[in-house]
Every structure is written in C-alpha cells, then in structure tokens.
Symmetry: C2
Subunit: 238 residues, 2 copies
C-alpha cells in the first residue's frame, strides 16, 4: 500500500527531473538518496524506472533506466458534467473522477451553470495528485467551460457501433443503468447536469444526440455525486 | 429541483419547531411567512406537512397538519469503514454515503487506523444536511470508533438467508461485485479497510465472518472513494 508513483513531464532524454513538490516529497518524506530507484509516470501511459542521481529538497534528478508503455484501458470513459457551483465540490469531483479512471472530463457551461471562480493550474495539480495516488499511468484530459455541444460533438467523432452515451436523469421513471448498458463498447460517454439540471431544450439536444436517459438513484443527488455514481456504475457493469 | 425539506425532532405534539439554522434558512433565504406550508422530516421516516404559525430569523414554528410515514427502503445497506485519517475526507464520505442512502454507518477503529480528531456534533450535522439535500426521510445511524468485531457481530444479528456481506479487496484477482452479488436480499453489508487496509488477521476475521471479498477497481482507491464505490455499486445492482 505504500507504493509511490511520481509524475514528471518526459522529453525522451536520459535524465528526468521531478518538480519541486515531488522533489520535496522524495527527499523529505521518503528520504530517498542517490542510487535509490523511483517509479515515475508522464501521464501518457509510460511507466519510467529511474535511479536517482541527485536529491535535494528542491530538485531530484534520476537517470532513466527503463520505460514501459502501459496498456491502454479496454475502453475509454468520457464525462461531460455541469460545473459544480462550489470550488471545493469541483475539486473533490475531479479528484474522485481521476481515481475512478476516466479518460476525458468536460466541465460544461450549460444554461443553468452559475459563474465559478477557480484556478485552472490548481485543477491540474489535483488531477496529477489523484493519478499518482491511485497508481495510474494515464492522466485524464480536462476541458474547462465548454458548451454542451462540444461534448455531444466529441461523442459524434466516435464510431456509432463502438460508442454508448448515457445521461443521468432526475426522472425516477427513467430506466436503471444496468438495463440499458451495452457491454463491450470501446467508448462510453456520461452526461450529468449542473445544479438545477439541464433545461428542456438542452435535454432535447442530448436526447437527439443519441444519449440514453438513465436514473441513478431514488434520491436527489448533487452534481458531483451523480458524476461519481455514473462513472463508477459504468466501470462496475463491465 | 428547488424542493425544500427541513429537519426537526418531533415529539408527537401539535406544533413543531425548526432549529436555529433551519429557522434562519426558512426566514431569510426562502422568505417564508406565517400561513406558508413547509415539509419537515424527523429522520425516522415521517414526512410532516406543517403550516407556519410564526417566523423569526431564530425560530420558526409550524402547526402539524399531516404526517405521512414514508415506506422503508426495499433493503437495508450498512457499511463498516476504516476511519479516514483526514477530517475533511471523513466529512465528505459521510455526506456522500448519506446522499447515496445507507442505513447504518460504522466508523471502524481497526489496527491500522490513525487517531483522528473530529467533532461528533459536526458529523451529525453533515448527515442531517445531506439527508435534507437529497430529500430523504430516513437518517442513517452513525456508530463511531467501533472495533471491527462490532460490525461483524451486527452482521450476524440478521438472518443468514436475508443478508449478504461484501468486503472491498485490494487484490485485483478478487471477483467483481456483479459476479458475486446476490439479488433480493433484505440486508446488505459492505466493509472497506482504512488507509493501509485491514491487517492479515483482520482479513481472516472478515472472511470467517462470511463476507465475500470483491475487487472494486484496477486502481488503488482511497478509503472514502472505495466506500462510495461499493455502496453505489450495490444500489445499482439491485
């Protein structure tokens, strides 16, 4: 359980350098020294084994000894979700979606989304941190403040027989996920409305784009809870 | 989506009083006045319709007009989970478990649980707030700092043919939830280890108590994420 994965951008050179935060962790918490082996990912599927050459509290450099390209997941899972109105809920949602292994996250600016103050750099840090924590080698792509159509357009770039789109509905009469779920698709797409949900015209757009409405719970779920629920549900159905 | 549910303890009398926080919300945010109708739950399954007699920023009192006992859920879902080591993660987990409709939450003090500072009153407030938000009438029961055996003993108080116990395992070779899930049980029990997981002797105790180990993800999930995942998964399998 104490396995440790670092993150660093990798240009293909012989040396790889941890950023200041990872360097501090490597040096101060893990007390790694020159000669110790560490495992690094670039978030693009590479598992990089490096041997530390130099460790200081601000800068750790390793020599790259081995690069293994990790297999891609059997399917992609992309989610479009109305931006939560509270920065803390947004951050928490990104952490959990990353832990639960999504491929693409579109934060949607739909008609009922309230303006939200957030720092994009901080959101990226949260995603990287969750990726390392959950020992993953692929970093989810994050798209911020996109219109709903950006997500449905993205959905349509995938082959019709290889994709399934599912949209969380507040209508309790909508079918359950497991009853409409199609196994063995290569690409899954989940849509979750913001606080106050999608508008009727947005619902029509979603439905005509080929997304199935599904019911996730008998209770009223917050946006971030519904997002976690649908992603977790799709993985567990596989 | 703007439906509002208040919480108040109810003694059976003709009048019901909101606490200070709910009174403030009722008066200041919703601008309710004497004569307006509000919906209240006592967390014990009662949906109480009241007509406001008096509203002030600190105290709202309603006359009870109707009490409807809401149907019990078709099954109970109890979770025993190692206490997260971070108060914010603990609070967040309680909010989400409540939103996702659990019946009993045992926060377990297992061998690898770190001491944690928390305020019990605050935890209860979080649960009440999530219950109101998600429009539920039954409040999850919270048991704090219990040994693992308290949860397995509780499991054994239910009839063998009416219960199923499932334990989240870090072993990726463990079967998926859907392959061992038994439909139409009356009582489900989920177990999730703390950071660092259960010890081997704890694992033996869990297994000999009749819990099935299941794998929830290929990734390493944080305690609170695993707890949400297993609860959500059980509901979606039903």
């Amino acid at each position: 359980m104490n396995e440790q994965l670092f993150f660093a951008e990798y240009s293909g050179s012989k040396h790889i350098e941890l950023d200041e935060q990872d360097s501090r962790h490597c040096y101060k918490v893990l007390r790694k020294k020159a000669g110790d082996t560490i495992q690094i990912t670039d978030g693009k599927g590479n598992a990089i084994r490096g041997v530390l050459l130099e460790t200081t509290p601000r800068r750790c450099v390793a020599e790259v000894r081995e690069i293994v390209e990790m297999p891609l997941p059997a399917y992609t899972l992309s989610i479009g979700v109305g931006m939560p109105s509270h920065p803390q809920r947004l951050e928490w949602m990104l952490e959990k979606l990353t832990e639960l292994n999504v491929t693409n996250i579109f934060l949607l600016k739909t008609e009922r989304v309230q303006p939200l103050h957030y720092k994009q750099e901080r959101l990226n840090k949260i995603i990287i941190s969750a990726m390392k924590q959950s020992l993953q080698f692929y970093m989810p792509a994050l798209e911020i403040e996109k219109p709903l159509s950006a997500f449905t357009d993205f959905f349509h770039t995938f082959k019709e027989d290889e994709r399934q789109g599912l949209s969380g509905s507040c209508d309790k009469a909508a079918p359950a996920l497991k009853t409409v779920f199609e196994k063995n698709k290569k690409n899954y797409f989940a849509l979750i409305g913001p606080e106050g949900d999608f508008t009727e015209s947005e619902e029509r757009h979603i439905s005509s784009s080929g997304f199935y409405p599904i019911s996730l719970s008998n209770n009223r779920l917050r946006t971030e809870t519904a997002a976690i629920s649908i992603v977790n549900g799709i993985h567990l159905q596989q």
